[in-house]
């Protein structure tokens, strides 16, 4: 009878753990929480960008306009979804859904509430880089399947731009990985928390390069070349409308959360801070908000580059600088251990 009760207890516990994991993945800090954060960051970005330009930004929907991104999302979901007859139907319909799942999947591997992410394994940093490359490929596929001249141009530019920013970004990510001796984002955060120093102090150049490379990945000015509004209408997103466009827009917002979350985890110590009573989630939000404000400022400051200038500039300046940073870091570590 005792053995049977142990079995029952074991099953109950497994069921509870499973339910807790499911709820974490779905609600907090899972999908619903991430979507709410993504929409909130979009509002912060729009208000700050507007303030820099001496105007208001959204102020009417909800208190101080905070519900404007939600209103935009709901409006897009309710609009008519026009599908041109010449598109490649399967890819065209799959791209918005897939492009939404990429940043969500990557976000599960970034520590948000504590020093451990929802899912972590050795090498998940490489997996995250892989997912971000997939996003660029999906942008290209979205433009290609639209069979519209502007979409094709935008898709080609998205692929070209990925060729530009991938290498310096990946090389700069190796800086904190070398410091922590691990390729898992959670372990890097652990290393920064246990040693009490942030990787940016030893990797300042890498931090700068990552910010620039992420501007290119998020397709923000000065690198919003794949969707340059005045040149190619809306680039690869031209033919998407209604629900598909809503999913794409949500995916781009989630990418912003992913970018700032990843930079926070790798360079700014993740959801940890000097004052112990403040919970990890608050540290995460503060640090990522600072990064969002930096991105908005850079968006207001520059004009758009041309694609050839972007790719050649990246290979002429960013790649050598990122390699230089790794060399300097190795030399510093060697000297410190000496």
């Amino acid at each position: 009878m005792v053995a049977r009760r142990a079995e029952e207890v074991f099953l109950e516990m497994a069921w509870e753990v499973g339910l807790l994991a499911l709820l974490s993945a779905l609600i907090y800090p899972g999908i619903i929480f991430l979507v709410v954060i993504a929409l909130f960051y979009q509002w912060v970005d729009r208000r700050f960008y507007a303030k820099l330009q001496n105007r208001y930004g959204p102020i009417y929907t909800g208190p101080r306009g905070i519900l404007q991104p939600v209103a935009d999302l709901i409006k897009l979901l309710a609009k008519e979804d026009i599908e041109p007859s010449a598109v490649d139907k399967q890819i065209f319909r799959a791209v918005p859904v897939l492009i939404l799942t990429m940043p969500l999947t990557a976000l599960f591997m970034i520590p948000i509430t504590g020093t451990w992410a929802l899912a972590s394994f050795e090498g998940d940093l490489i997996f995250i880089i892989f997912l971000m490359t997939l996003i660029a490929i999906l942008a290209f596929l979205g433009g290609w399947s639209s069979t519209n001249i502007f979409s094709t141009l935008g898709g080609m530019r998205a692929a070209l731009q990925a060729l530009g920013y991938e290498v310096p970004m990946a090389v700069s990510f190796m800086g904190p990985a070398i410091l922590a001796g691990s390729l898992s984002v959670s372990k890097i955060v652990q290393w920064q928390a246990s040693h009490g120093l942030w990787a940016i102090l030893l990797n300042p150049l890498g931090f700068g390069i990552v910010i620039v490379a992420f501007l290119a990945e998020l397709e923000r000015i000065p690198f919003d070349i794949p969707e340059a509004e005045t040149e190619i209408v809306a680039g690869w997103q031209t033919e998407f409308s209604g629900r598909k466009l809503a999913l794409i827009r949500l995916a781009l917002d989630l990418e912003l959360v992913l970018a700032s979350g990843l930079v926070t985890a790798l360079f700014l110590g993740g959801p940890t801070g000097p004052i112990p009573i403040i919970p990890g989630i608050a540290w995460f939000m503060i640090k990522t908000l600072v990064l969002v404000l930096i991105f908005s400022n850079l968006r207001a400051l520059f004009a758009r580059f041309r694609i050839d200038q972007m790719v050649s500039g990246s290979w002429k300046y960013l790649v050598p600088l990122s390699i230089l940073q790794i060399v300097m870091l190795e030399l510093l570590l060697g000297w410190l251990s000496f």
Partner: protein, 394 residues
């Protein structure tokens, strides 16, 4: 359609396109990102204006002519009244000449500030757009104060101007000019230092001086290629024979030079304005003229913000003109655009198109000519519409 050995395809720009503020169609033949050829198709804003002149009296024509373009309104109206006053052969009071100069220069400042913002927007720099258009509000408020309306000022009448400048208006204009001078000096200092903008503008849309003259470019497009031509200097009208100013030229021949030419012209306009306000002569602002214009022909030219604007008037002694022809500056700049954009990138198209400050409303005129009989005629908008419906088979 597509030559397999060539790899080129056609990209249509317009008539609806975010880069164009007004509709026209450009068919670009591109090879990857390089533009190989362009076919410019105009006519989307044709409204039958020249025929409308023939159906309206000279007084009604005053307001029709300024609606050819909202931003060059004063320039068009000035050209028109110069034509009519030359036919009537009347000398207008000197005060009216000075007031016309003041309003025309205010309009030039407005147009160039608007253009600086639009150029920023075309390269993706929306912050410059917001700031330039905020500063433009100063000029618009001054226009409303002096003429009664922000654009489409209608400050001229045949024989002079309609409103006088009071001393309060003059002091408000002076204060506005001081603020604008400070802001323009800031733009002049900052724009060459902003490397992202300069990378998009230097060496882009090059128009060599001999091409500029051969293709009949006008206005800042011509002056950015180093050629000193300005109607205010070459053939002065209103008060330009007495106000000292420099004709701004730059030698860069590219989009960056056109930006700098226009920014410097804002400063020159402020200089002209201050001089005119200081030396404003007293006297009446208009002469009362009898209705009716004697028969004859006249051509008048004016330096609109976009370049040289030519109007031709033929009168047959009645109270309505017999023929009125408008050659707006943008129409003269289109062949130059064709030369500028070939060999460039697709990404350069918006900024090169914007660099000539295109005003499609000014551009579109249409004449029907029967080649064999050398007969030519105009159609009104209703006639055009009826013809188009018939052509579509409705």
């Amino acid at each position: 359609m597509k030559n397999l050995s060539e790899n080129t395809f056609s990209v249509p720009f317009g008539p609806q396109h975010p880069a164009l503020k007004e509709p026209e169609n450009f068919m670009f033949t591109v090879d990857g990102e390089r533009v190989v050829d362009v076919k410019i198709r105009l006519g989307y804003v044709h409204r039958g204006g020249e025929k409308a002149f023939e159906a309206r009296t000279y007084t009604q024509g005053l307001y029709l002519v300024e609606r050819i373009c909202g931003i060059c309104a004063m320039a068009h109206q000035l050209c028109y009244v110069n034509n009519v006053e030359a036919l009537i052969d009347v000398e207008i009071p000197r005060r009216a000449d000075y007031i016309r100069t003041i309003i025309a220069e205010l309009e030039r400042i407005h147009s160039h500030l608007l253009w600086v913002g639009v150029a920023g927007h075309e390269v993706g720099w929306d912050t410059l757009f917001m700031y330039a258009w905020r500063d433009r509000e100063v000029v618009l408020d001054l226009m409303e104060l002096t003429t009664g309306n922000r654009v489409l000022h209608a400050s001229n009448t045949i024989g002079g101007v309609r409103r006088d400048l009071t001393s309060e208006m003059i002091s408000r204009i002076r204060k506005g000019m001081k603020l604008l001078k400070e802001r323009t000096n800031y733009y002049k200092a900052m724009i060459p230092k902003e490397r992202t903008l300069m990378k998009r503008a230097v060496g882009v849309g090059v128009l060599k001086p001999q091409d500029a003259v051969a293709l009949c470019a006008v206005g800042p497009t011509l002056r950015a290629s180093g050629i000193k031509r300005d109607v205010r200097r070459d053939d002065p009208y209103s008060a330009y024979d007495e106000t000292p100013f420099d004709v701004i030229t730059y030698d860069g021949c590219d989009v960056a030079s056109r930006v700098l030419v226009r920014v410097d012209e804002i400063l020159e306009s402020i200089k002209i304005l201050n001089y005119a306000l200081e030396h404003l002569p007293s006297g009446p602002i208009a002469v009362r003229l009898p209705r009716g214009v004697p028969a004859g022909e006249n051509v008048s030219m004016v330096e609109a913000p976009r370049g040289e604007d030519i109007h031709y008037l033929k009168s047959n002694g009645t109270d309505k003109p017999e023929r009125y022809k408008v050659r707006a500056p943008t129409l003269a700049n289109w062949p130059a655009v064709g030369a500028m954009i070939k060999g460039g990138y697709i990404a350069d198209i918006p900024i090169v198109l914007a660099a000539i400050d295109p005003c499609m409303s000014c551009t579109d005129r249409m004449t029907f000519t029967e080649v064999n009989s050398a007969k030519s005629w105009q159609w009104s908008r209703d006639e055009l519409r009826r013809y188009s419906l018939k052509w579509r088979g409705k």
